[in-house]
């Protein structure tokens, strides 16, 4: 259904060809289809055209042309996101940053790396090896791009200790939706004024497109110790997590898998995890040799006292990698359990873990669906995978409904609808569970300051479309709003 869209974009396409070269503008329907989804395949929209700029100047020319023509656009990195944040807009433009993958500078004396947005996450750590690394490590780090990480404020297994993308971005060059090029921050930290840089990171492509990114890298820890302990139930493992934290430790990572995830991952990787275990807890400590050694003994003791069925301590790097492979394979391995799954990434206060897991199990029974749980236990970031068979009529809808109730349970427990995947298109409907109309209206003020015409990634993050007025006056609720029948512009 795309022929019409291309025709509408006709004059714009001519501008784009001029700006970036005809070979970097995609308009053929079958080629456009490769961009219709990101990592969340439940959403697919064919874009009107795809453009692949090769420089900040070309991005600027493209965005300017869109601004002139009033055409909305969506920026895309590797398309590995899990919230539909890079789902295209029909009749809009998709801007792929995949050609902009140069590492512009490695400044080790100042522990900075400057990259273009299409550089992969793993490439940054590789560029500063062997003595330094770039801590944010989403599971997709081999393919996902730094530009995408900036848009989503990506986390990963190690962010309980090390923080998120926002912790490591010191500067951004951004093309604003009107085509202006601005620099927020730079190599230096704590630049004067309100933290516009911090507000941009995690804005999911709705405030502009980053064309250059300054990153902080840090020395690698001297020692890393990893173990996996198996328990009868996730509740038992959750108690262990609480004890580790109560002992004053901030482990590099604490990850938990439930029985279903263990069985799936084991079938996939053959890491030697007991498939009858109720829960697996991966604990990784890093830091100085002495500190790590003493603390690791404490962790082993805590696991033993909590009646772990077995404890496996990684004896070398190969064994550590095997443990992590099993953990990181959990998503991919779900294919062995069910043809499809629906993943959420809600967050809860860690102390509510047992209670929320109970509620998730209850929902699984109620909906007659299997729900696997793999999660970052340190920061309470769950990843419930609701398994279903898309070929059974109605089952996908049931899975989605069940997943929605899991999200609600997490918010009710004082948590968040998303810890690292972003709101995107998928979770915007849950935003009102966390935020009042006044909260959303305040978000919109930021949006309107950056993008008054709302051309950048429209239809994401905010639950309902809102327009930007000239400049907002004192807020007065319209009677229709009070009745919940209309949103304020």
């Amino acid at each position: 259904m795309n022929a019409g869209a291309s025709a509408d974009l006709g004059p714009l396409v001519a501008d784009l060809r001029e700006a970036v070269g005809a070979e970097h503008v995609v308009t053929h329907d079958h080629q456009l289809r490769t961009y219709e989804s990101d990592g969340l395949l439940q959403y697919a929209v064919t874009p009107g055209a795809v453009v692949l700029p090769g420089s900040a100047e070309e991005v600027q020319a493209v965005v300017r042309a869109c601004h002139r023509a009033g055409v909305p656009w969506v920026a895309r990195g590797a398309g590995s996101g899990l919230s539909g944040g890079a789902t295209p807009v029909a009749d809009g433009l998709l801007i792929s940053l995949s050609r902009m993958r140069r590492i512009l500078e490695v400044d080790l004396p100042n522990q900075r790396v400057v990259v273009e947005p299409g550089v992969t996450n793993i490439a940054v750590s590789q560029a500063v090896a062997p003595d330094h690394f770039y801590p944010p490590d989403p599971s997709s780090q081999i393919v996902c791009t730094i530009g995408g990480n900036v848009a989503e404020n990506s986390g990963g297994a190690h962010c309980f200790k090390y923080g998120f993308t926002t912790t490591y971005v010191t500067g951004l060059e951004v093309v604003l939706p009107d085509g202006e090029l601005v620099q927020l921050g730079g190599k230096e930290v704590d630049q004067p004024g309100p933290d516009l840089l911090g507000a941009f990171v995690g804005s999911e492509g709705t405030l502009g497109v980053a064309t250059k990114i300054w990153l902080r890298v840090v020395p690698k820890p001297e020692a890393v110790r990893t173990l996996v302990a198996f328990f009868g139930s996730p509740t038992q493992a959750a108690d262990v997590v609480s004890e580790i934290v109560a002992a004053g430790m901030v482990p590099g990572a604490i990850e938990m898998m439930d029985n279903l995830s263990i069985a799936a991952a084991e079938g996939y990787t053959g890491a030697g995890f007991p498939t009858d275990a109720g829960a697996a807890l991966v604990v990784e400590l890093d830091g100085s040799d002495a500190e790590c050694e003493m603390r690791f003994e404490e962790v082993v003791a805590i696991c033993e006292q909590a009646d772990a069925d077995s404890i496996r301590v990684a004896q070398d790097e190969a064994e550590r990698e095997l443990i992590w492979r099993a953990r990181k394979a959990a998503f991919a391995a779900m294919g062995r359990i069910a043809p499809n799954y629906y993943v959420q990434d809600s967050v809860i206060p860690r102390t509510r873990l047992a209670e929320v897991l109970g509620r998730i199990a209850e929902l699984g029974r109620e909906y007659d669906l299997r729900v696997a749980n793999v999660f970052h236990a340190g920061d309470g970031n769950l990843h419930p995978l609701v398994c279903y068979d898309g070929s059974v009529p109605g089952e996908a809808e049931r899975a989605e409904e069940c997943a929605g109730l899991i999200v609600a349970a997490c918010v009710d427990a004082g948590g968040s609808i998303t810890g690292e995947h972003g709101v995107g298109i998928d979770k915007k409907r849950y935003m009102p569970q966390m935020f009042t109309d006044a909260d959303l209206g305040t978000f919109q003020r930021l949006r309107c300051a950056f993008d008054p015409d709302q051309l950048a990634n429209p239809g994401k993050v905010m639950p309902t479309p809102r327009l930007c007025g000239e400049v907002p006056g004192p807020y007065r609720q319209h009677p229709l709003e009070q009745m919940g029948l209309a949103e304020r512009f």
Binding site: D131, G248, L446
Partner: protein, 369 residues
């Protein structure tokens, strides 16, 4: 418009503060939001019609020890919150200089920080949620109470370093950290700015996990201080001591190290004089120490982050400030009478325009000064 004498008000609740702010905005009065007033000299000169104090918002709303989080009203003095956290073996890892009474709201609004910034980041890394009142009376929150959360825009960061210019911070949710069971500090001494920089770089690039990594330069003498915390603080400090010696400094180990670090914090303030904060690079250190020396100023800095504070208690600060501004991102904090402040404008002209657009959206009546 502005009157000679500001009216002062300290509403007893967030709702009252928001309402009073809105009333003032509607009447066209200018408003400055204040905490304990310990950093008023940092702000540009202004004669607001109303000084709206957060002194009445002083409740520790939540301390969730098991989750290592807390919710603090803006007017809670940091020191009082820390006492409460300490009882649970925890801390909010923000340790700016505090002669007494500095509020969490004021610290966040000015993005102030101390030596712990090296390990735990600044307010922007530790605040996980925020509630604010805008000039039109809107009360809005962003973020939440969990330490990992990407739902919605991170408005808490926008308000960090805003000096109250976009709205009044009502309360913040923060992430806490365990108090280190023991600490130890390795100190290196030198009279050579180049050796100072070499020692600092050796440690910032070492595979060590410092609680703090600071430098100091005063009257021809320099120090590098590396602090470690944990169950094995001493062995780590010994390694640092060796690295400092190898870099050419005279090194020693200090177990009872609190006073050393308090002195570092003191270097970030001058009760009567000038303090300039420089956002620089690690490799600027030798040059900055030499600049401090030339102007008879003292320097304290977070060596791994490139942040420095130059303090000049007596005499004309303009020559120092001018020299720093020519080469660095330099912001005036404490200032002597007669010198003007410059805390808000970003360097990039495009970013400055963007910031004005943000200001127009959040405070269209220009109420907040």
């Amino acid at each position: 418009m502005a009157t000679a004498e500001a009216r002062r008000s300290a509403p007893a609740s967030a709702a009252e503060l928001a309402a009073e702010l809105a009333t003032a905005a509607e009447a066209g009065a200018s408003v400055r939001v204040t905490g304990a007033g310990t950093k008023l000299r940092w702000a540009p000169d202004a004669r607001p019609a109303l000084e709206l104090s957060t002194a009445g918002l002083d409740r520790i709303v939540e301390h969730n020890a098991g989750d290592l989080t807390a919710v603090l009203e803006a007017g809670v003095p940091l020191g009082r919150a820390q006492e409460r956290f300490r009882e649970a073996g925890q801390m909010l890892a923000l340790d700016p200089p505090d002669a007494g009474g500095a509020t969490i709201g004021g610290i966040v609004a000015t993005n102030d920080s101390g030596p712990l910034r090296a390990r735990y980041g600044s307010a922007r890394d530790l605040v996980v949620g925020m509630r604010v009142a805008l000039a039109d009376g809107t009360v809005a929150k962003s973020g939440g109470k969990v330490i990992k959360n990407v739902a919605g825009y991170d408005l808490a960061k926008l308000f960090t370093g805003s000096y109250g210019s976009l709205g009044a911070i009502l309360d913040v949710s923060v992430r806490l950290h365990p108090l280190p069971p023991q600490t130890a500090t390795a100190v290196g001494h030198t009279h050579d700015t180049g050796v100072l920089a070499r020692g600092a770089a050796a440690l910032s690039h070492a595979r060590l996990e410092q609680l703090g990594l600071d430098v100091r330069w005063a009257a021809g003498a320099g120090m590098v201080l590396a602090r470690f915390g944990g169950v094995a603080a001493h062995p780590q400090a010994e390694t640092a001591e060796r690295l400092l010696r190898e870099a050419g400094l005279e090194a020693e180990l200090v177990a009872d190290d609190e006073s050393l670090w308090n002195a570092q914090r003191d270097g970030q303030r001058s009760p009567e004089g000038l303090v300039v904060r420089v956002s620089g690079l690690q490799t600027d250190l030798a040059e900055l120490a030499a600049t401090a020396e030339r102007h008879r100023a003292t320097l304290v800095g977070r060596a791994g982050l490139g942040l420095s504070w130059l303090r000049l208690d007596d005499g004309d600060g303009e020559p120092l400030l001018n020299e720093l501004r020519q080469r660095h991102l330099a912001v005036v904090l404490d200032r002597p009478a007669g010198m003007s402040a410059n805390p808000r404008e970003p360097l990039d002209p495009g970013a400055a325009v963007l910031l004005r657009r943000v200001k127009e959206r959040f405070d269209p009546t220009g109420t907040l000064v």
